[in-house]
Amino acid sequence: MRPCGVFDKSYTQDMAIIRTWQHWVILLSALILLYLFPLFGSYYLISFMNLLAITVIVVLGLQIVSGYCGQISFGQAAFMAVGAYTSSVLTVKFGFPFWIALPVSGVMAGAIGIIGGAPSLRIKGFYLAMATIAIHFVVIWLILHLDITGSFKGLYPPSPSLGSFQFDTDERMYYIIMTVMIIMTYCARNLVRTKVGRAFVAIRDNDLAGQVMGVSLYYYKLLAFFVSCFYAGIAGSLWAHLITVVNSEQFTLLHALEYVGMLIIGGMGSIPGVFFGVLFIRILNEVVMFTSPVLAKAFPWLGVSPAAALGLTAFGLAVAVFLIFEPRGLAHRWEIFKASYRLYPFAY
């Protein structure tokens, strides 16, 4: 984002994500603030940030496969489950440290994602959405019926450790989660600017035209699923070691729907859109959670249960409103703001 009058003078400048020294200052200040946050943030806010960051990683993956590559997926919660269980099995049953289990979880989820994404070679749109829902149920069924996953009893993965230091509180896990989120965001932001990213966009916009231009649909669609599920797997592993208990009930189709809702609200095909969408829905959830007891107290005739049930209504309304009035999501508003900033103080 450049202010008015600042122009790129070289290819390097043109390709830079951070374009001015002011941007560097803002970015570094934000990072410092982020890492210092546990020193002044409340326990609740820290745990909220952890949940937010894990969700960002999951939705970043979904953005790559759906927002950039145009392959609708409702399997993200199941792939997150694959990551959570892989990490739990590796640490609980085989004694692997978290630091090895974390990337392996991503790879395992990615590998399963390739199988899950295979139908995308033959079907698309609504039919692909249905196929990914089927994958969701198959994964959950397998988790429930395999002994290694602890079956219906679930598993209790340990907190990560580094030497004798245990990351056994939300405050300590915060540093791991934030670091992973930053790395994953950096990778996603750059991936979509590469040849691979452009191939994804070509498939999304017109797969036939892309194929004619030499884009291998077979390779890139499966790659998109692999990357997307890798993200979900990493998020699943972080979730498992944060909460230290995993069972199949933590990964429902409702979660997958919520992730798609976040994508719609944030904006398809935009990395900042992921942050906007996740923030919007998570804050909406928290606001409803916080206000429902207050509402119930202020309007006793309403009763606590209907007041609390506002959560789902609010989510549904938000998605519907965005689909009708701003189908390009909050990211589009951000783009409008940036365009205005670039011209300021001129009107056009």
Partner: protein, 401 residues
């Protein structure tokens, strides 16, 4: 300027008034992490209505020794992440003495945090919480205990029908931790009675038709079938069995989340004769309980929408009040902490709750809310008692957890 100043001062006054009323009022909190809009909302909403009404009644009468109870109800949508987030949000609430984690998954996810915070939580009926004593108290007998009690009744019924040998029992339920729990110890108990349990049938929650599972159990020679899940699922299973003509030859059995007024109002004919094991009053008995009747009429009016789970919610409230009184006998309000409530819950053994459920069985060695159950039958579109209170067998100890 003058107008702005007046508005500012007014807001300040209101703020200070609010602050003073909240800061200086003697208050303890109860957090309910309930599913108000998800798959078990049909159970959670009326239960929390009962609790909420009971608490508002206690508060209206001046509270417990002048201490008011603050009820915080949060909709988790049966979602562990939301529940954990909500717990963390409210865990620093002053004097949050008890958390009701309504779902086994949520209860297990929160157990570590509850231990760390030296608090106590209520959880539905997973036997593991009894097998490994911690800070999680189950509402009544464990699921497997209730299943075992039903097996006792099956043997009585079998003999009363003049049959010889042992009956064959089928089992169909949700394919999730809750759906499988009754068999962990319950199966061992049934087999110790000589009952043959057919290979259980499990299906994903949300399944609309159950014919294939029912037919398989019928072909396996089942004399009795346990229909699991949370209402309306058991009602729907029996509805399908009725359509298949199986209810004529097979006796259907249900756990304590079996058909309520909700299901019976819709499928009375199909549910006729169904047996339900319950640790809290059901159907007409619940509706005729004077304490329940009085509170419901006062807060909810007509009995058209009455659900017997309302009484169970009241029972939670009674237990909480008794626990609070016991805690206050040992410490002052100023020094009262969540850990005191945890200890108090272990001292209220034998507490009677207006007959809404059996005497409280919480103790240093028991996390069961009560040991007694009743068997009910659906007759003429109503749930009526088949037996009096009877002690549920300890099936938890029969299983290696």
């Amino acid at each position: 300027m003058k107008k702005t100043s007046v508005i500012f001062l007014s807001l300040l006054c209101f703020g200070l008034m609010g602050l003073s009323s909240s800061s200086f009022a003697k208050e303890v909190a109860y957090l309910s992490l309930a599913d108000y809009t998800g798959p078990i909302a049909g159970l959670n909403v009326p239960a929390d209505m009962g609790l909420e009404d009971y608490i508002s009644e206690v508060n209206a009468k001046g509270g417990v020794d002048g201490i008011k109870i603050k009820f915080i109800g949060i909709d988790t949508r049966y979602d562990v992440a939301r529940a954990v987030s909500a717990y963390k949000r409210y865990s620093r609430t002053p004097r949050l003495l008890m958390v009701n984690s309504i779902s086994t998954g949520i209860g297990k996810a929160l157990a570590r945090l509850i231990e760390r915070d030296k608090r106590a939580q209520l959880v539905p009926g997973d036997g593991e919480f009894q097998a490994h004593l911690g800070r999680s108290f189950i509402w009544g007998p464990a699921y497997q205990d209730a299943f075992a009690a039903m097996m006792d009744w099956v043997m009585d019924d079998w003999k009363a029908k003049g049959k010889s040998g042992a009956p064959v029992v089928g089992y169909v339920s949700w394919d999730n931790p809750y759906g499988r729990e009754p068999l962990r110890g319950g199966k061992e108990y049934a087999e110790s009675l000589g009952i043959k349990i057919l290979p259980p049938e499990f299906f994903p929650p949300g399944t609309l038709k159950h014919d294939v599972y029912l037919n398989r159990l019928a072909e396996g020679g089942a004399h009795y079938i346990w229909a699991g899940g949370v209402d309306p699922t058991p009602t729907n299973i029996i509805r399908d069995a009725y359509a298949l003509g199986l209810t004529k030859s097979i006796q259907f059995l249900n756990g304590y989340w079996g058909p309520t007024a909700l299901g019976i109002g819709v499928h009375a004919e199909a549910l006729e004769g169904t047996a339900i094991v319950s640790f809290f009053l059901r159907g007409e008995e619940a509706k005729n309980n004077p304490v329940v009747t009085e509170l419901w009429k006062k807060h909810r009016g007509s009995f058209d929408q009455f659900n017997e789970v309302y009484g169970m919610g009241m029972s939670w409230g009674m237990t909480y009040v008794a626990g609070l009184k016991s805690a206050l006998e040992k410490t002052s309000f100023e020094k009262l902490e969540a850990d005191d409530m945890y200890k108090a819950y272990q001292r209220i053994t034998g507490l009677k709750r207006a007959g809404l459920q059996g005497p409280c069985a919480y103790s240093p060695t028991s996390r069961r809310g009560s040991l007694e159950v009743k068997i009910y039958r659906v007759k003429g579109g109503k749930i009526v008692p088949e037996t009096d209170w009877r002690k549920a067998p300890d099936a938890v100890s029969l299983h290696k957890f």
